[in-house]
């Protein structure tokens, strides 16, 4: 059985790397957590091609949950998903750090796309302490 993959999209390559690293440490090596950080030429921003490639790498056949940091990252993700017109990748409305780690841990036990998406979106209402 394939695991749902996770894609982290951030305006900052460094931020995306850090979130990916944290989630990998918590979810273990079996979940594919891919990042698309920064715009073209290492600027702050987001890049269609990086997002599309990250989704491809994350997909093992059972779907991909995509999280973005701020406004225009979401526009970029939507743009990529619309153009590729597939049902296997789902953009979720969730805080980047909490949503990514929650989704990755749920993905690591083999839950499907809906459950992994829900875990990410439940992070919106989760208290830190």
């Amino acid at each position: 059985m394939a695991l749902v993959g996770i894609v982290v999209v951030s305006h900052s390559a460094e931020l995306a790397r850090g979130v990916g690293e944290l989630a990998r440490q918590m979810a273990g090596p079996e979940v594919r957590i891919e990042i698309a950080g920064g715009g073209p030429g290492e600027t702050l921003g987001t890049d269609d091609t990086l997002v599309r490639d990250a989704i491809r790498r994350a997909n093992q056949g059972d779907g991909v949950v995509v999280l973005g940091d701020l406004g225009s990252a979401i526009l970029t993700i939507r743009h990529v998903l619309e153009r590729n017109g597939n049902g296997h990748a789902r953009l979720v409305d969730a805080p980047l750090v909490e949503g990514t780690v929650a989704a990755a841990v749920v993905a690591s036990v083999g839950c499907g796309l809906s459950e992994v998406s829900r875990a990410a979106e439940e992070a919106r209402g989760a208290s830190k302490f």
Binding site: Q25, M26, E98, V101, V105, C111, A119, A123
Partner: protein, 95 residues
Amino acid sequence: MVQASSEHATADAQVAMPADVDLHARPAAEFVRTAMRFSSEVWVAVGEREANAKSLLSILALGARRGTSLRLRAEGADAAIALETLAAAVSQLRD
């Protein structure tokens, strides 16, 4: 120790966190992954606070420190085995 009642399929258990492990990032994820193997609803309480054992962010928010006593509670068909497994997993958590 796990006390189970088969008619109601509920179980309770108490287990202490290891003396050198806090229930933070990686151990919390391990705890949640173990809980998710079972169909029963599982809760864990520390002091006055109780959290869904299958919700990573809720478990992290408990902030259970090393040596803290966790009270586990489960409801469902596999409640007893869930708590037995979870209690054993807690005692073996590593950083």
